[in-house]
Symmetry: C2
Subunit: 239 residues, 2 copies
DNA sequence: TTGCAATTCAAACAGTTGTATGAAACTATC
DNA sequence: GATAGTTTCATACAACTGTTTGAATTGCAA
């Protein structure tokens, strides 16, 4: 046997008869190094040689443990995706239980954008690389990720439902736009925080994560709850 | 002589003594093909060989006319950047003249996000590749572009000033956040229109460009003009 | 037409990429 | 301690990248 890289046998991923897996230390080292490098430089700027150098392992280890570069990226993305989604859902569930199954819209949006914003912008660097990796993944959308990414839709749908529950009178289409805008603001703030910092001459405090979250939540909530101008009004504005 | 690629001589870019430039047809063909391919596939997925194949020219023509791949990208970006900025400023100027030097905030934001949204999402495909190229450029931020991109800041500052003029009572920091959020929503809508379409099961009409612009403008204006919750309120919401 | 520069072209270059190979080193069971 | 499995390692491979080269071809002025 020369290639384990995942499900080699059929049933249990646990130890089989003749004890195969010894340490998994190099496997973990590769995952950590890859996540870190991808998060800070982006996929197209990081080679397998960069990764193995940072991990202190041999070049062939990647293909031995993961099969290919793409499968490494995919595993990274799946793992982090699950973690992020769980974080979001926990916050959502807590908010819904607080309100007897119906959370205020602000809490729903906060559950949606909070974890990622905290992870990426927070001064505490714990989980920062994980969050930044996810941002990279959503920015570059490299082929191995693109295939998996569709699952995110069903995850987001849960939040759309929660939002609809908390705003029963808002048309469904507006819910989707609100969700979309909330993610857009959170996302872009992470990705382009440098530009905002320069543009405002440092006036926008990007270390005040909770303040930023509040801004995003407020803006998205307002867009949802305030009736937007009618088509006639909009047309007049355009003129 | 073997390399013209831009400013070979000193003063005039017009014809010099011994008539140099004959047709510039291949040069234009390269620019068009490159813009198109970069716009639809992204920088990291397009090679010079792809470009010259699409342009119907020889591989060496790129280095002959532009010097290097990076200089080709840079020229493309500078050209399109100037065009986009001019479009925005024209719309802003028109709006300001309409209101005697003080345009309503909606008009300012519309001038900021309108041209790009129209270019990328409009059913009329004229200028679509140009706008999409700019989006790619801002997404991938490849090295040759990163250097030039700082100029965009001073361009955006003009809009910050216009916004401040139309909302004199709003704190400066809020102006920057509003500008940032407006761009974020417009930008993400272009980049991830596919996800929104899937998430909403086609409910969000992405062909209705003016409707989308109205949504972005309204959301951003609301975020600017509606007093956001005080810190105490926000804190209570977080709990 | 002749001559000279600008332009095009096929081919090759040097560097980097992800992947594959086969031998060595290790680990744990017998 | 021998053995069979795994993991590691140095190295090679084939494919692809942007770039260069030098010879052909073109276009225009004399």
């Amino acid at each position: 046997m020369l290639t384990p890289h995942g499900a080699s046998d059929k049933a249990h991923p646990t130890k089989q008869s003749t004890a195969p897996m010894a340490t998994d230390r190099t496997r973990a080292a590769i995952l950590n190094a890859a996540e870190q490098l991808y998060a800070e430089r982006g996929f197209s700027e990081v080679t397998l040689r960069d990764i193995v150098a940072a991990a202190g392992v041999n070049l062939a280890a990647v293909n031995y443990h993961f099969g290919s570069k793409d499968e490494l990226i995919a595993e990274l993305f799946v793992t982090r995706s699950i973690a992020t989604n769980r974080e979001r859902l926990n916050e959502l569930k807590a908010a819904e239980e607080n309100g007897g199954g119906r959370a205020p819209i602000e809490a729903v949006i906060r559950a949606l954008v909070g974890p990622t914003l905290r992870g990426c912008l927070g001064p505490d660097r714990e989980g920062a690389t994980a969050a930044r990796f996810m941002i990279r993944a959503s920015i570059e959308a490299v082929p191995p990720i693109r295939k998996i990414r569709n699952r995110e839709i069903s995850h987001l749908r849960r939040f759309a439902v929660a939002m609809q529950r908390s705003l029963p009178d808002i048309p469904e289409v507006d819910i989707y736009w609100g969700l979309h805008f909330a993610l857009a603001m959170a996302h872009q703030t992470i990705r382009d925080s440098e530009r905002l910092d320069k543009l405002s001459n440092g006036l926008c405090d990007l270390d005040d994560v909770e303040g930023i979250i509040a801004r995003v939540v407020t803006a998205a909530s307002l867009a949802l709850t305030t009736k937007r101008p009618t088509t006639a009004t909009a047309k007049a504005q355009r003129a």
